[in-house]
Symmetry: C2
Subunit: 235 residues, 2 copies
């Protein structure tokens, strides 16, 4: 029997209308739609984004990816998820994995696909690109992210001040993803470098509760949600 295809569908930053036509077509064409399970009984972000596009005949498969750094725990979770998906693929059913933002950009889909390809090398994977959060944030701000010869740096989050300093020396535009846990340290660096008035925070870009902070001078300790991004025009 022909095995099914695993589609990695980028569903965009939050607004359900920011999925691509191709992503939506494939999402609606498969019998099984998978997504990361939410935490504490809440629906996950990708699940919320695609909810309105699914029909009642589609199997919905919530896969658990724990928010931990322990490699053994993570690896075990990816294996369980991969086998859950494989159950459908091996009987010839296509599975669409819905992933917030873009599937290739710091995404859970990568680990799922890599684990599945390791366990079942015959698996076919196809990826549909989408809108990533830096583009959504720039659009929300009404600013260009990059122009002309500008050099862009993206950091998933900052752990050392030294690392941020090095990036600010080199790049014209710096994006810090998921900045909430390190915001106070970052603010200190930006103040020292006189960059607070050229820095912007976007919370939950494109969602109804989106929030924007365009002047950070008086905000040394913003309390930010997980999906927050800081954009610095350093150059």
């Amino acid at each position: 029997m022909k095995t099914g295809i695993l589609y990695g569908i980028s569903v965009g930053p939050g607004d359900p209308e920011l999925i691509t036509l191709k992503g939506l077509r494939l999402l609606q064409s498969v019998p099984v739609v998978a997504f990361p399970a939410g935490v504490r009984g809440n629906r996950g972000m990708a699940e919320q984004i695609v909810a309105q596009w699914l029909n009642s005949n589609q199997v919905q498969l919530a896969l658990t990816f724990p928010y931990v750094f322990d490699d053994a725990v993570l690896s075990s979770a990816w294996q369980v998820a991969a086998e859950q998906v494989w159950k459908y693929l091996e009987i010839g059913q296509d599975v669409a994995f819905a992933c917030e933002g873009d599937v290739s950009f710091y995404s859970t889909f990568t680990y799922l696909a890599q684990t599945l390809q390791l366990l079942h090398p015959e698996v076919k994977v196809q990826v549909i690109p989408g809108v990533c959060s830096p583009m959504a944030a720039a659009a929300a701000l009404g600013l260009p992210l990059t122009m002309r010869g500008q050099r862009l740096a993206v950091l998933p989050a900052i752990y050392t001040v030294g690392e941020l300093e090095a990036v600010l020396d080199w790049a014209d535009v710096v994006v810090l993803l998921k900045v909430s846990s390190v915001y106070e340290q970052v603010w200190q660096v930006l103040q020292r470098r006189n960059l607070l008035n050229r820095s912007y925070v976007v919370e939950r870009a494109t969602l109804p509760n989106q929030a924007i902070y365009t002047n950070l001078c008086d905000r040394p300790n913003l309390q930010l949600p997980y999906f927050s991004l800081l954009l610095i025009q350093a150059g």
Copy 2:
């Protein structure tokens, strides 16, 4: 009279199905669709992408943006284009500017919008994010662009070898946009650093004539088209 809105519509990397639902809805809702004019009688990339989505009642406005570095020439072209767009906005008609890739990412739209806002400060601009070329290239390659704590650097193109060397010292993943004019120099750097087997070229991502080069060791002087991108997994 209420003036019209200028929409910056990101139409994605090439495949017309990679526009977002929101981008398409707005594109089809306006009386006037603008885009960069093609060169030498050919249709421009954005024009080709949106052609199938337009209807015959919509005005199509090709705006000329010369491919030069001369600031005076560019500035004058942006002013002419801005006034062409303003003619419609000032009589209350909305204009959608179609832009390949993402509107905030090294885009012609930025100069048009900034010039228009300078000439007519009352103008309203709204930007719809889209799929940018690095995401499209990663999807085409079937590779993640970035994972976990990886640091990403994007350069519009390389002019000095020293600059590329500095970026390779710092970033885990490096994307070189529009690499065609500097490919041979870049290849030398990658060879010296033993990175050729972790580097990938994608030409015209997502278009029917897309081409991928996954092994650059024997390709010191690839002849590449303008829309070519090089992805380096350096980390």
